[in-house]
Symmetry: C2
Subunit: 303 residues, 2 copies
């Protein structure tokens, strides 16, 4: 199960009622924040999910509206008496940006690990498998995907048929072979077929290029930018390295994602809902994001 919350949906500058684009995802005691513009710490604290669970912050790129809240965020974690390490992920250049930001936040009671990711890199955060792809923007930019795998079901009737004592079931459930009856019993002998996990992608400040489509293929939830709602802004989307609602919906459709949330709305678009039809007629399972929009993604056949 993954809890997801859109902390903010704004582009460029925070507005009354619209924080800068940021997403938090949580599973059990672990959470990850995507992007951290000015004010993200406020939205995150208002959400009330607890601050000590944040394992990592993934930065898409270094335009200020995606990273200017980093010093405040780190100090908020410090004030919450965090001592466990925090990992920052981002494109190459991350360390220099963080060093610059930390000139006003030099003392932290936890280790801060900076991982500069090349497009295509894979990484781990707690139980999540992370991957990323290069966006097409005016500066290096990463789109992210997290996969929470699901173990195959344990089939006790098979374990019983093999005469396995219950104390050997645990290792097999977790994928470890055991010795029993003078031979090695492999996990596959007592486990069901592979099961679909849960996946989520965060894509902002990019054109809808094929590498992004490949990254987000089949995710349960794509949180994707729709900077411009009005199709008349198409040329401007190309020029500024963004997407229209229609383009984001086409991306979602081609990549066969299950659900799309639009975010990262231009400050010149006060009512993004007015343009919902532009997306809906291309990809029906779309939600026009709003600050504080939350959901829970469950495994297909229950927890």
């Amino acid at each position: 199960m993954i809890d997801v919350c859109l902390l903010g949906t704004g582009a460029m500058m925070p507005l009354p009622g619209r924080w800068l684009s940021s997403l938090v995802v949580r599973t059990g005691p672990h959470s990850v924040v995507f992007d951290c513009g000015e004010g993200t710490q406020i939205a995150l604290r208002a959400l009330g999910w607890g601050l000590r669970s944040i394992d990592a912050i993934c930065i898409s790129h270094f335009h200020a509206d995606h990273v200017s809240g980093l010093a405040g965020m780190l100090l908020m974690l410090a004030n919450a008496d965090r001592t466990e390490p925090v990992t920052l992920f981002g494109p190459p250049g991350l360390r220099a940006v963080v060093e610059g930001q930390r000139r006003i936040a030099p003392f932290l009671p936890f280790e801060l690990i900076c991982e500069e990711l090349a497009p295509g890199a894979e990484f781990r955060i707690a139980d999540w498998y992370g991957s990323c792809a290069a966006g097409v923007h005016h500066v290096p930019c990463l789109a992210y995907r997290l996969d929470l795998p699901r173990r195959p079901a344990f089939l006790p009737e098979r374990a019983k048929a093999l005469g396995l004592p219950v104390e050997l079931w645990g290792p097999l459930q977790h994928g470890t072979p055991v010795e029993w009856g003078g031979r090695v019993v492999r996990p596959e002998e007592v486990l069901g077929p592979p099961r679909r996990g849960i996946s989520i992608a965060y894509v902002t400040d990019t054109r809808p290029v094929p590498s992004i489509g490949a990254l987000v293929a089949g995710v349960d939830l794509l949180v994707g930018e729709g900077t411009f709602g009005d199709p008349a802004e198409q040329a401007r989307a190309v020029e500024t390295g963004h997407m229209t609602f229609a383009e984001a919906a086409e991306l979602a459709k081609k990549a066969r994602v299950r659900r799309l949330w639009l975010t990262h709305f231009s400050p010149a678009m006060p009512r993004p809902l007015e343009h919902a039809a532009e997306a809906q007629r291309r990809f029906p399972n779309v939600t026009i994001g709003r600050d504080g929009l939350c959901t829970t993604l469950s495994y297909e056949d229950g927890p």
Copy 2:
């Protein structure tokens, strides 16, 4: 005339309904912002005084809650199509902090001038005369004062008595001697006695030391920190380099300021008004600050 607005009254972290401590003062088409933590740009835009009037930003010190909004503020000015230079004032170290912040705001359409001020330094911003003094905090910190001088009254009856033609009145009004009747006429001959101007001081993140008292002596409005309201927090105020309400009120009283606004409230103090009496019984003309508190300071006998 000076318009004054308290943009935020919080210390350490922005809270719902309480932005980080920041003050803006305006006279005619010129304004100055004091401190610029996360969210200050939002409060400033909500105020609606216009963004292109900002000549300078004075930073007290480099703790994040006083400067973390700088990148966002500069980009907001850029988005408002500002092209006139902006000057930043702050303690030594300002340039390094600004360089760090600008790694996420490298392109600005205006010149950014950084003035590192030694305690006691004097400076000019438009018609204001600025001065500063060292606070006692855990890092170098400056308290600021702005004085808007007032020209002496022009006395037309004296000008007439000297037979001066009207076209020579202007230079004399502005302090420039003129030649008339075969001699030099000095401005003092047609001007009244000196007149009190308007003065304001911004003092935060410091103990109430004598140098601060000297800086703020007699100002019309002292905007001063009262991080702690409860007198039981006195030891903590000393330890953290801050003031209690009582100490700020004593400072105002000793310095014979005309009015005191308290600000920079600890996040642990949700209702600063509960402690108002601590200040009022020492200095009656005190206001417990709140976000958006505004006033206009006029010359004593009208504009």
